[in-house]
């Protein structure tokens, strides 16, 4: 005889103790107090941030959820951010190679591109500081879902959100659209460079 084992678990909303299962209302809430999956207004700043680039609502919501939220029970943005950051790094390196051709005599460039710029100088553009600032400027801060970290990791969480949007556009609409997204949204609309400029000046 096959039987299915079941357990009866009761939760108390008022009490929190180790080993006691929490009610979903306790942990499915964002730092701003919004219940997952959010109100109709939750996705509005993200949609404004995306502009012409259309993503499905569940995918936008996934970009806003950090792995720490609700113990990984709902779709989160870890892998989208992973591929997004790789794409951003590639795009920054490509741009620097094209823009830096005047820094070298022509016979030292390769097909008119300068590949000899130190990587630290390029990676500054896509660093967590810069991306987290973009996330704040886009007003995405209150719509993020994450568990408040013990150490201050909020800038990395914000940067992951921006990376995740790049990754989501890449997986949903292909690399041409993703490059256009980086150009149109991050560079033009959100002025990545004016954010990065003070950092450039500091390190130059």
């Amino acid at each position: 005889m096959a039987y299915i084992q079941t357990r009866h678990v009761s939760s108390l909303a008022a009490v929190t103790a180790k080993g006691l299962r929490k009610l979903p209302e306790q942990y499915m809430r964002s730092v701003a107090g919004v219940m997952y999956p959010g109100e109709p207004t939750t996705l509005a700043p993200a949609k404004k941030f995306l502009g012409d680039f259309k993503l499905s609502d569940p995918l936008i919501l996934q970009c806003l959820v950090h792995k720490s939220f609700a113990h990984g029970k709902v779709p989160y943005n870890e892998k989208l951010a992973f591929i997004g950051s790789e794409l951003l790094r590639l795009e920054a390196a490509r741009a620097a190679a094209q823009a830096g051709n005047q820094a070298l005599p022509k016979e030292l460039t390769i097909n008119g591109q300068n590949f000899d710029i130190s990587s630290n100088a390029i990676e500054l553009l896509t660093s967590a500081q810069v991306l987290s600032k973009i996330c704040q400027n886009a007003g995405l801060d209150d719509t993020l879902f994450y568990k408040t970290p013990k150490r201050d990791l909020t800038s990395s969480i914000r940067a992951k959100t921006v990376n995740a949007f790049v990754g989501a556009v890449l997986l949903e609409s292909g690399s041409t659209a993703a490059f256009r997204f980086i150009d149109d949204r991050l560079m033009r609309e959100h002025n990545l460079f004016s954010i990065a400029e003070p950092l450039y000046r500091d390190s130059a």
Binding site: K67, Q98, G100, N111, S119, A121, L192, F193
Partner: protein
């Protein structure tokens, strides 16, 4: 190709910044000299890179530790690394969207690490040359004779037969790193001359497709049964139940048990073992492998993420 990089004009304005961060030493390789080197011509034809100028290929073969007085491949190799890791990651993320991110990272490493790329360099017939400038001078060779070889300084030097001196620092490198670095640099020169779409094709044909990695061997599960039940709960499936499917010689010294793991009517996996527990665990591992190694037909499948237990 994409239109001219508009907003990146900012970087052009920062040309003094880019100039300050540009590091290059040595003199340029002349195309007329590089074209006449038979090794480079042979390499061009062997890899079907006839459209890549010989001077770019010759430069890709000069490591940062080389004693030749030519420009080296340090920057190219760094750029090639960025290209390779992006394309390898995208390939596997589309092919196996459910792989956990650290497994994915590890898988990409299996394809783009220096030892892996050094195997490609060997397959491409790249020949290393680690002689010092004095050694070359004594055998009556000039710098141009060193072109077409992978030129580098080895960190292991044989002082006298049987005694090796291992050096450290940035002036020396290992053969593996030099070989891997030149593959990265060749990928970057392909990008510089052919553009983004064709370099993707090159990476996929020459680096990713030839290598065969057994993906069932790449993952180890520490708590498979628990992970499976959390996964079933998250996906809204019935909790997994293990059932014995077949057995033989329960009371003998060589017992065999075949267990299956089921969620409702659905069979998730099956495993065989010499004890009931082993069979049950193997069944759960089999089910989890089936979940994580799922490969969809569409390219825009976005995964929710691995299970957290």
């Amino acid at each position: 190709m994409r239109r001219v990089l508009g907003p990146w004009q900012f970087l052009r304005k920062q040309s003094s910044y880019l100039e300050a961060h540009t590091r290059v030493r040595g003199r340029p390789i002349q195309l007329s000299i590089a074209e006449k080197v038979p090794r480079i011509r042979a390499l061009q034809h062997r890899l079907q890179l006839n459209d890549i100028p010989a001077d770019a290929l010759a430069r890709s073969l000069i490591d940062g530790t080389s004693t030749l007085d030519y420009v080296n491949n340090t920057g190219l190799s760094r750029f090639g690394r960025t290209l390779l890791s992006f394309y390898a990651l995208r390939h596997f993320m589309i092919k196996y969207p459910r792989l956990p991110s650290h497994v994915l990272k590890h898988l990409v490493h299996q394809y783009t690490s220096m030892p892996a790329l050094a195997e490609h360099a060997k397959l491409w017939g790249i020949q290393p040359d680690n002689r010092s400038s004095l050694g070359r001078y004594l055998s009556g060779e000039e710098d141009t004779d060193g072109l077409g070889f992978l030129s580098y300084s080895d960190k292991i030097q044989e002082v006298e037969p049987g005694i090796q001196k291992i050096q450290s620092g940035s002036a020396v490198t290992s053969l593996t790193d030099a070989m891997g670095g030149c593959v990265r640099a060749i990928v970057a020169s392909v990008y510089a001359h052919r553009g983004l779409e064709l370099v993707e094709q090159f990476v996929s044909q020459y680096i990713i497709e030839p290598r065969q990695v057994d993906l069932t061997q790449i993952m180890a599960f520490s708590k498979p049964t628990r992970e499976l039940s959390v996964l079933c709960a998250r996906e809204g499936m019935e909790p997994p139940v293990s059932r014995l499917l077949a057995e033989s010689g329960r009371f003998s010294s060589q017992a065999v048990f075949v267990a299956g793991v089921f969620s409702g009517d659905m069979k998730l996996g099956e495993g065989q073992g010499t004890s009931l527990n082993e069979a049950r665990t193997r069944a759960a591992v089999n089910a989890l492998q089936g979940w994580y190694l799922f490969s969809p037909k569409v390219s825009n499948y976005v995964d929710a993420g691995e299970v957290v237990i």
